[in-house]
Symmetry: C2
Subunit: 352 residues, 2 copies
DNA sequence: ATTATTTTGATGCACGTGTCTCAAAATATG
DNA sequence: CATATTTTGAGACACGTGCATCAAAATAAT
């Protein structure tokens, strides 16, 4: 029987190396290298022998040593909107916070802020990137033809691209973010459960209903409310377009015309505008209000009772997951499904 | 001005190495090594010079290369209860599932199942461990004097110990798990919010109220119910002691004597017994039932509407966090607070 | 059977750090 | 001053893998 791997002092099985592979497969280390790195000019019979040895020994490549040998560093870029949105601020904070941890893993991250409403600027930025300066890009931007094409060409040039959080068509698990339909449905369920016996109307407030996120959340919300809580009626979405004045206006107007509002659902990732509008209008205490994303603003609103629940995704997890995925993409590996699944979290006053 | 780090082809700053440190500090690589690894016999003035260079260059040790040189492998052991509990099954599953990912990081994990009720067995196991065979242990076991002492001696022998999920006194951030008081409070909040206008009694079911977890959850639950939902009254805890017969008995008895039960809170991490008892007794449809831990059983109960909400902690995150912490402890590093914070998650039918 | 081509082996260096050894230099002690 | 001691430097090798070169062996083509 073959001695399958060297034995260490304490009797534990040492981890098999390429040397062990070569010995067990009966080939040279050079050939093992050719097989492991998929180089040309190796007979199929030899390839099989090596693979059999890998199987037999349970060989796992020492990525650290490999990266050291290649002196590989991962250079990743986050492209984020430059709006002052607090949620994006949290994302930025986590990118910086994790910088030290990333450095230890040979990952360097940088951030570029772009105007969300200028697809040409985004496309131009993407066009300026090449595999010589960056290995992967996490992109948070609305899906427009320009951007979609730019992403496509970027990938063809050999730079990995990863839709980040929102607004892009998803392919397989090559994206990071939550299922917005389910997030909306969760909001709907909470709304219904918090209002078990009170028939009435639900106001729904969004920045703009044109974004993919908003549409999906709205659809999930409606689905649950219509099918499970027929005593509640979701009103058409109100759009604030990011304007505080407009937010104040539409909320007071709506409340004036619809006296039987029992709940408010704030769709957008920035709840500050709608919340202060609600504060100004002084809605009755017993209206249930649900918003998205954990920010200093929504935390405060939870604590003082203005907000009843917040549906959120963990920004730190989003950032780390993006980095892990980009790294896996550059290595041609796959990631752990369960680790990368971004949870839809529910936050109440008591689990802040 | 000093040339601070070598320049790579593409113009990007190469990451500084110990060589760069030596050059900038004006000492030899041997001395840099003495400082970095805290060896004796270096003059304070020299130590300061090196630290200044570290600061100036922003030097971060290449852990991968260091571990390679030391041929370091991390050998961790999980000590878990051998009860057939589904939640523990999930933990086990995640340990195995993440095995491949760990291997790539030079981490090998093993698992030992022990009888939770036999502190002497656990203490004996701990006593048998030495730094020669294991670097760190994640321990999930009730806190008894025997176990506490054994853990203490284990640490003195140089094996890192990490309380895992439950039942040990906590020191600083050297533990993994959720805040059970907050988890109980969350359950209480949901219960109250789901029952806004229905006065009545709440049945509370536990395996045993003697465990630290149960006590803390109960206390959090009571606090919220008493202070915020005075129309609800939490009954004394019912203990099942893991017996299905007893579960059936106490639940039917309680329901017979207390006709105005409007909610049930299942404290323990195993909800199967109480749930099937509830199923047998056929409680009225509109009773709100909340349990802990996401398992196949609680998932099914959510889908079919028996359960209204599940409070849970992500077992995969728990496992990975334990490994990261043990690794940081062995390296003498600190971990990222925000990443290791285990979230109290709320699961409804819609965010399964 | 000879030559051309493909496949394999042997060997050496590199990556960044840890860990030795031995000598040289600096400083302290008498 | 000479000597003992502390502090530092120079150098070599190791870890596991990638990558390159050149020769040797195996196989295919003529």
């Amino acid at each position: 029987m073959n001695k399958s791997a060297s034995q260490s002092d304490d009797g534990a099985l040492a981890r098999p190396t390429t040397k062990d592979l070569a010995r067990v497969a009966g080939v040279s280390r050079a050939t093992v290298d050719r097989v492991l790195n998929g180089r040309e000019g190796v007979k199929k019979r030899t390839v099989d022998k090596v693979h059999a040895a890998i199987e037999q020994l349970g060989f796992v490549r020492n990525i650290a040593a490999a990266n050291l040998a290649k002196s590989r560093t991962y250079r990743f870029l986050f492209i984020l909107p430059q709006s002052g949105d607090q949620f994006h601020g949290e994302i930025l904070r986590h990118i910086n916070e994790a910088q030290t941890a990333f450095t230890a893993d040979m990952v360097t991250t940088s951030v570029r802020l772009v105007d969300q409403n200028d697809p040409f600027e985004i496309a131009a930025l993407l066009a300026s990137l090449s595999p010589e300066t960056v290995d992967g890009v996490a992109i948070m931007a609305p899906e427009t033809p320009q951007v979609r094409d730019a992403i496509h060409r970027l990938q063809e040039r050999g730079v990995h691209a990863l839709p980040f959080i929102s607004n892009q068509t998803l392919n397989g698990d090559k994206w990071v973010g939550i299922d917005n339909h389910a997030a909306g449905a969760t909001a709907g369920t909470l709304m219904g459960r918090f209002l078990p016996n009170r028939a009435g109307k639900l106001a729904i407030i969004a920045d703009s209903i044109l974004s993919r996120d908003s549409l999906e959340r709205r659809s999930g919300f409606d689905h649950v409310v219509n099918s499970e809580f027929p005593h509640l009626t979701a009103l058409p979405s109100l759009e604030t377009y990011g304007s505080q004045v407009r937010a104040n206006h539409i909320i007071s107007e709506t409340y004036r015309h619809q006296k039987d509002i029992v709940g408010v659902y704030i769709l957008s990732s920035e709840a500050r505008g709608p919340l202060s509008a609600i504060w100004n209008v002084a809605l009755p205490q017993n209206i249930v209000i649900i918003a998205h994303e954990r920010t200093p603003c929504t935390e405060n609103a939870l604590v003082d009772g203005t907000l009843d629940a917040v549906i959120t995704q963990d920004p730190g997890h989003l950032v780390r997951s993006a980095v892990r995925k980009l790294r896996a993409m550059t290595d041609g590996r796959s990631t752990l499904r369960s680790q990368e699944k971004i949870r839809i979290e529910i936050i109440l006053k008591t689990n802040l």
